[in-house]
């Protein structure tokens, strides 16, 4: 508490002294390095298996580790598992790293088996991690450093799913419920930082774990502050209350870049922003055409909409370059990226022509739904799109609603067109396709949020085939074909990938990530 009570002026002086010291000393770690990092949303629990929400995962990541992990470019790499191999189509063997828990005990296969089973036992989880362990039918401990995992069906996504399951100490967390988890006795992981305290909606304090298997952590102490308010987060950085932030508010980016006391980094994330266009229903609530039909059922109309949107203008005028235009469903490093799907150039005349061809020379009226508190500048972008569509005679009105309402409305089928985002957790395009454009199918768990009401038997076939394909190269080709089907048919209209940003005080190096998950290792004291 006392350390936190210091005035920022004092800590700035301390920081400067520290910088001078680092110049004199051979190693950067010789001074008390403190990272005060502001997140843009509040974690809701410290239990890493309680709530599958990105901000909770981002906090847990500092203290807990996973078997596999995503590197900054969203490729799957080893973490607590040194290596893994397929024994047969349904069995995998993971070799574990020699690591210590923060209470000094050894990390073993026993803890892995416990951690993989635990998400399924948390009864009041608002969003369960079970969806990543659901494929697992059996875990078998071969020796303390080896574990075998069996899945019910051939399941190629297991290593990707395991990037989301944190390894906790069986000894420290057995029988502990989520609401009692946030104490130093139970918060025992293998990560570089050790839990000290948690104040809900305010901060998490952590200290360095010297027994970390990966060497000495970069910071002596790490404080995460929750600052969802853009202005508050930005001014906290400027005034020195914190020395690093995520999600620089877009209007301030130019100023941050120009500020000599700050460093800034941006990276394309794997969050795809796109439009659902209702092509499945004869009559749709948010669309009105003279002939009484639903024009969105005509693929030419959907293509016209794709052409009428000036992605470059959105990126430059509203997103400060943080919109990376695309006509694909996956970024170029991901599985399923199809290089033949090039971004459609802005062409309002072409769009008008296509509309006329489809029988709508005078256009029609459309209501475009959008969340107003979820995606970067969501309501602003939707209004700009409305402008662009109105230019080609699709008179568009914007219905901006909070994220809480948009899900309910969307699942009830109240939208004809809506802008949404999809963050690919599994480093490949398949999960998004299964959830958003596959025919609704309860048994398979597909088409859950298919707000386009799109259903294409050809795509279903493609998906069934690739879901159990264990050969990565083959699956990549199959996935590309599926992506091609979706985009060719304009089942959804891909707009752009959203960028993620970070800023910090001078003297800190930023290591930007694609998966939007900020942690203490996103920042390092600059050498």
């Amino acid at each position: 508490m006392q350390a936190a009570a210091k005035s920022p002026r004092l800590s700035i002086r301390r920081f400067t002294t520290a910088l001078v010291l680092t110049a004199l000393l051979p190693t950067a770690s010789a001074w008390a390095a403190e990272l005060k990092l502001a997140y843009s949303s509040s974690a809701t629990s410290m239990d890493p298996h309680f709530h599958n929400a990105s901000q909770n995962i981002a906090v847990a990541r500092n203290m807990f580790e996973t078997l596999t992990q995503m590197d900054p470019d969203s490729r799957i790499v080893p973490d607590l598992a040194e290596s893994w191999k397929k024994i047969n189509d349904t069995t995998w063997e993971f070799k574990l790293r020699k690591a210590k828990f923060q209470d000094g005990s050894d990390f073993t296969a026993e803890d892995v088996a416990f951690s993989l089973a635990r998400p399924g036992t948390i009864e009041n989880s608002p969003s369960s991690f079970k969806i990543y362990t659901g494929s697992i039918t059996k875990t078998e401990i071969i020796d303390p450093q080896t574990i075998r995992i069996t899945t019910s069906t051939p399941y190629p996504l297991l290593p990707a799913d395991l990037t989301s399951i944190f390894m906790v100490s069986k000894k420290a967390s057995q029988g502990v419920t989520s609401d009692k988890f946030a104490t130093p006795e139970h918060m025992i992981g293998t990560g570089p930082y050790q839990f000290v305290s948690y104040t809900p909606d305010d901060r998490v304090v952590m200290k360095r774990f010297d027994g970390f298997w990966g060497g000495k952590p970069a910071w002596d102490s790490v404080t995460i502050r929750f600052m969802p308010n853009d202005g508050a987060r930005m001014t906290a950085l400027l005034s020195g209350d914190v020395n690093a932030i995520e999600n620089v508010p877009t209007p301030d980016i130019e100023k941050v870049k120009a500020n000599p006391d700050l460093v800034y980094a941006a990276k394309k994330s794997h969050r795809l922003i796109f439009l659902f266009l209702d092509s499945g229903r004869e009559s749709s609530p948010g669309v009105k055409a003279d002939n009484g039909k639903n024009p969105l059922q005509d693929v030419r109309v959907r293509r016209a909409i794709n052409m009428a949107i000036d992605r470059k203008a959105i990126s430059e005028r509203l997103m400060m370059g943080l919109a990376y235009p695309t006509n694909n469903l996956a970024t170029d490093q991901m599985m399923g990226f199809d290089p033949t799907l090039e971004t459609v150039p802005y062409n309002p005349e072409g769009a008008k022509k296509l509309l006329a061809e489809a029988g709508y020379p005078n256009g029609f009226a459309l209501t475009l739904g959008t969340p107003n508190n979820r995606l970067l500048n969501d309501a602003r972008v939707a209004q700009a799109i409305a402008q662009m569509l109105t230019r080609v005679n699709i008179k568009t009105d914007v219905d901006a609603v909070p994220f809480s309402a948009i899900n309910t409305k969307g699942n009830k089928g109240e939208f004809s067109a809506v802008m949404m985002g999809w963050g690919v957790q599994t480093a490949e395009a398949s999960s998004g396709i299964r959830m958003m454009v596959a025919c609704p199918d309860k048994a398979r768990g597909w088409g859950v949020v298919n707000w386009s009401n799109y259903c294409n038997p050809k795509l279903t076939e493609q998906l069934i085939a690739l879901t159990s394909e264990m050969d990565d190269a083959k699956r990549n080709d199959m996935l590309k074909a599926a992506v091609h089907t979706v985009v060719d048919d304009m089942a959804i209209v891909p707009l752009y990938f959203q960028g993620m940003t970070w800023a910090a005080k001078k003297g800190i190096k930023i290591i930007p990530r694609m998966d939007e998950r900020t942690s203490a290792f996103t920042f390092e004291p600059a050498p």
Partner: protein, 307 residues
């Protein structure tokens, strides 16, 4: 005074004198320089808001007239179509001057409409409550007490979260949180009137009850109602802007002053001050001028404070 004609309200003092009184009251009102300035500013702003579609350089609600390529221009810049944006443009490329004019329309419209509806409902309930009395009165006043003990901001916030966005919904919520003020005010003065001789006289004449209520009791409750209403218009406008700031209220495509301030605030730090500051000034001018007038009005209409 003793003459009872069913067509003229039985007011004190009588009509002819009343006109002179009105004149004197207006003179009293503008005698205070603060109130005179307030009234002048208010009249100007209301005129601008009313005439916005005729005098605004642009219709900010017509998407055909907007161009995203014109966005975030500082005051005095030229738009793509050659016109000048004297107060700059916002993130959608809307001309701020026009947007503020239209925004005042929304803010004033919401404020005045909600006050009108709420005062009519409240006045009727209040007068009925006083007239009928007994258990009915007790019940109504319990409800009023209950309503008034809850801060309007919380009630309106919950209502609008449930209703969703829309001008009509904002007005409805504001009516809901305001009617009780009027009911209480009108009931208090109606109770005083009820015991006066002329009501007894009217009753003796066997005039229809509604007639006594509407033509005789109600008009005498008007002066306090006017004072409360004036101040409430300012209150309603402030409340609407606060709700817009919290993210509920008017649709994003038809911004009120409050919403303009809220959306513009995110640009303030980066030096694009015009998007938030000018609507802020407009809002402050409206609310302060209404309150200056209302403050003086209270003094003029309340004999205790007349000098």
């Amino acid at each position: 005074m003793s003459e009872i004609t069913p067509t003229t309200p039985l007011t004190l003092p009588p009509v002819a004198k009343g006109e002179r009184l009105l004149l004197r009251q207006v003179r009293d009102l503008v005698a205070s320089p603060e109130a005179a300035i307030g009234l002048a500013v208010l009249i100007t702003l209301v005129a601008i808001a009313l005439l916005a579609p005729l005098i605004a350089p642009q219709n900010p609600y017509d998407l055909m007239q907007l161009d995203i390529m014109d966005n975030m221009l500082p005051p005095g810049s030229a738009l793509g179509n050659g016109a000048t944006a004297w107060l700059g443009t916002d993130d959608q490329g809307r001309d701020m001057l026009s947007t503020i004019m239209y925004g005042m329309r929304v803010s004033l419209g919401v404020g005045i409409a909600s006050v009108l509806i709420a005062s009519v409902i409240g006045a009727l309930i209040g007068v009925l409550s006083a007239y009928i009395g007994g258990r009915f009165d007790a019940l109504i006043m319990r409800i009023v007490d209950l309503q008034l003990s809850f801060p309007s901001i919380l009630i309106a916030l919950v209502l609008l979260t449930v209703f969703g966005r829309g001008l009509d919904k904002v007005v409805l919520s504001l009516v809901f949180v305001q009617w009780a003020y009027y009911a209480r005010t009108v009931r208090a003065s109606a109770l005083v009137e009820k015991n006066k001789d002329y009501i007894a006289a009217a009753r003796c004449l066997e005039m229809p009850q509604w007639r006594i209520l509407v033509r005789h009791m109600l008009p005498n409750c008007i002066p306090p109602l006017i004072v409360v209403s004036t101040v409430q218009v300012a209150h309603a406008i402030t409340l609407e802007s606060t709700l817009s700031y919290l993210g509920v209220g008017v649709p994003v495509t038809q911004p009120s002053l409050g919403m303009l301030i809220a959306t513009g605030y995110s640009f303030l730090l980066s030096g694009n001050y015009w998007i938030s500051t000018y609507p802020g000034i407009a809002l402050v001018l409206i609310v302060v001028s209404i309150n200056l007038v209302g403050d003086r009005l209270r003094a003029v209409l309340n004999p205790r404070f007349t000098h």
